[in-house]
Symmetry: C2
Subunit: 480 residues, 2 copies
């Protein structure tokens, strides 16, 4: 077994078994093994799925087999949810059955920071090598591959996407997927790989680098086994597709927390920062920021320059937005006088207007005038990206932007996007309450459908666009 | 008329007139004057409210008077929504009627950056001085005083609170109130004062400093008329209550936007930053951050030290949180070994646990064990504030935290809060979708009810608590 194997078989098993399932566990139970069963079923996994428990019984009308060896057909993929001390015997049984991959929800290995845990992990790795089995985990959620229905949560979508995601943390895999999906981002393959006793971050990174379904790679990582190999893998990855890294343990206190979590050494934060920067990897500091940057990479064309033009309503919001964009290193150039005059002609004299960039056309924004304003700004030569600001809660709720009104405004943005070659983004912000969020999500759906990335705050737009611009500037610099 | 007048009469008018109302405007119309009428009515204003339009007619069964002079009783307060050229005559009529305050939604004065606008503003100021009338605005939303029903939006709550808010921008007044109210913050008095041709930022700051109903002062400001006086007013304010400033135009580009907006010079960002820092004013960069900091000032006791203890679920989320807190300057000290052992005894061996700070008790967090965990952490001597982390979307939705489950967990936090003297905060995060927001808002209601501030992301908790700690450290330093 070498690290550089093609791992396709992990994502395309013919059959799967889930070990440690409770007989008659309810669909919504907290029995993790039962949740894996639900996940494969709702993910549309096409092969047979065998529940396993030495006590036998039934679950959802399926026979529970006492042992993986009792399964009738060939068995490629095993999910292990039994307690750690029983794992060595399971590996032996899997070897006897000809299983290709065992994935471990089970924990209690090196991350427990005990001698016993470390020994147990060494034992199962040795047994797997002997049996020709690859291991994922332990202490992880495993694989989500919408294309084949391998999954670890019943609510993950069946729809495939362009993002490959490698995640050392099960929680950050769960939330990362769920949050990104809400943001309109879908995945080719996700692997929560935990302690990485066999298949590790470098194997997975190399695999995603070569994977034609993956166009962007996202990584949550706390520490690596083999730093040199990982840096080489990162370098090869960035050469062919964008790589975004969320580094857990980038501070001393965070590194200490990471040691307790996955038992890995997080390494010096300064070394990491320097290496990632030098390699031209984009970095983020939270799962939410990761999703914002993925949206940006998915929808904004390259090359991107940093000259931003904005149009919106409300002077105060415009001023704050300008401060935030400007602090993030984005440039808001003056508009040529003739463009300012063109904008001025659109609007009747009114409070607090500004026809220079940032453009504020006040309540005309809520009339069909906005279409012309959007278009004039998008077509201005001095602007590399036009951002349309749609605040939801500036007016009294009685005549504020409900979903219908917000979509009406953005329909004009969609029209301009179809008529223009300029990168266009939308910031749907000033969101208040659950209703506001519903409106914002519907706006996102409309805009993403035509390639307009949507952000839910000025701050997140500024961070994501600035990181995107920096990423491409560094690429250019390295090329020269 | 001097700047230092007691401005109580602005917030306590006996009667009000709204000039420029359209006959038969629908309650939800975009006629701003009609919205003011709705706002006073739903705010419970107890005096007579007179709609004014030279065309006469009726609105909502009320007679529209052609002129303020035709109003039957005494008239204290006039809201002006007519166009700028008609304003001088209105001021003359108001003087004849004995009006005390005129507030201008009307724009088209200095902020228009035209000679005509500037002259018109000078004219109305002179007329008002002659007539003994105080002016608010122009180019503003005016006053929201829940105690007396003076208001500019029908959806603002009737409930009074401890925060006084002075806001140069109408939009940031609207959104600031609406967003803060969602965060459980209520107001004593809010004034959106626009161009500040008469009553200005210093008058209002002095008033709020002396106002017994106001315990915390929030300010959105782009520029000032008289820098020295404003600095003096700020100094006097900080001496008696916390002051939080959101400075619009803190960058060069932002300052240019501010000039278009309210016609004021934003001033050098470095000078502002230095002055605010030296005076010990807390600063924020967005309305959302303002609300988070208000929540913190309202619910966390002083003095506050920066030693943070956290308890939660999910190793990855815990690692990221630690990085974010640590980067914000907060300290996560080790827990004493006996405290770690106490925590360890609570929980059965399980994946990725950590009994040192940050504490991660994994899925035991969702059992009644959490009460004991919260209590042990809150009572630890090395911890100045205990933060309970409640991620909503780490588990599959099928057995994830719905509202009921989230409130069940936080009920234990409430119990600990009642039994302990330690400052306690909650971070309800990993929020996905509108349902997630509903849950988060209900969690906030429960926690704020017992004095536990709630934050909706790790990032916002880190920023707000760090600013709060810094604010009190600077106070201490100045005292010594």
């Amino acid at each position: 077994v070498t690290g550089n194997t093609n791992l396709d078989f992990i994502f395309n098993p013919r059959s799967a078994a889930i070990v440690g399932i409770s007989a008659n566990a309810e669909p919504n139970s907290t029995n993790t093994a039962a949740t894996y069963l639900e996940s494969f079923l709702s993910g549309g996994f096409s092969g047979p799925i065998y529940p396993i428990n030495h006590k036998g019984g039934e679950i959802r009308g399926r026979k529970i087999y006492p042992n993986v060896k009792d399964v009738p057909g060939p068995l490629d993929y095993v999910i292990c949810c039994i307690q750690a001390p029983f794992v060595p015997q399971l590996i032996k049984d899997c070897a006897a059955k000809g299983v290709k991959v065992v994935q471990f929800f089970t924990a209690g290995f090196t991350e427990s920071e005990t001698e016993k845990g470390r020994e147990l992990q060494e034992e199962i790795v040795a047994l797997a090598r002997q049996g020709g089995i690859r291991l994922i985990g332990p202490n992880c959620m495993g694989v989500y591959c919408p294309g084949t229905g391998v999954s670890f949560a019943p609510d993950f979508p069946k729809e495939s996407g362009k993002v490959g995601y490698i995640c050392q943390s099960g929680g950050n895999a769960h939330f990362g997927i769920r949050y990104a999906v809400q943001r309109g981002v879908h995945f080719s393959k996700v692997v929560s790989y935990g302690n990485a006793c066999d298949v590790d971050e470098s194997d997975l990174l190399e695999y995603l680098t070569a994977d034609p379904e993956t166009e962007i790679i996202a990584v949550y990582i706390e520490g690596v086994k083999d730093g040199k190999r990982f840096v080489r893998a990162l370098k090869e990855a960035v050469a062919v597709k964008p790589v975004i890294v969320l580094k857990g343990g980038r501070t001393d206190a965070g590194a200490r927390a990471a040691a307790s979590h996955t038992g890995t050494l997080a390494g010096s934060s300064r070394v990491w920062e320097g290496v990632l920067r030098q390699l031209g990897v984009a970095t983020v500091n939270s799962v939410e920021e990761l999703a914002d940057l993925l949206v940006t990479f998915l929808y904004l064309p390259v090359p991107m320059c940093p000259r931003l033009g904005t149009i919106g309503i409300s002077g105060g919001a415009t001023v704050i937005a300008t401060d935030v964009y400007s602090s993030a290193g984005l440039v808001l150039p003056h508009l040529p006088l003739e463009v300012q005059q063109e904008l001025r002609r659109l609007v009747k004299s009114e409070a607090g207007l500004s026809f220079d960039n940032p453009v504020d056309i006040s309540s005309s924004y809520y009339s069909s005038v906005n279409y012309h304003g959007f278009k004039i700004l998008a077509e201005c030569d001095r602007i590399d990206i036009a951002l349309f600001h749609l605040p939801l809660s500036i007016m009294p709720r009685t005549h504020s932007l409900d979903t219908r009104a917000a979509l009406w405004v953005l329909d004009h943005a969609v029209k301009v996007k179809k008529e223009s070659n300029k990168p266009i983004g939308a910031v749907v912000y000033n969101i208040v309450g659950a209703e506001g969020w519903e409106t914002a999500l519907k706006c996102q759906e409309l805009c993403h459908g035509v390639g307009i990335p949507v952000y839910f705050s000025i701050d997140s737009a500024a961070k994501a666009i600035s990181r995107f611009v920096t990423y491409h500037e560094r690429r250019e610099t390295r090329r020269q």
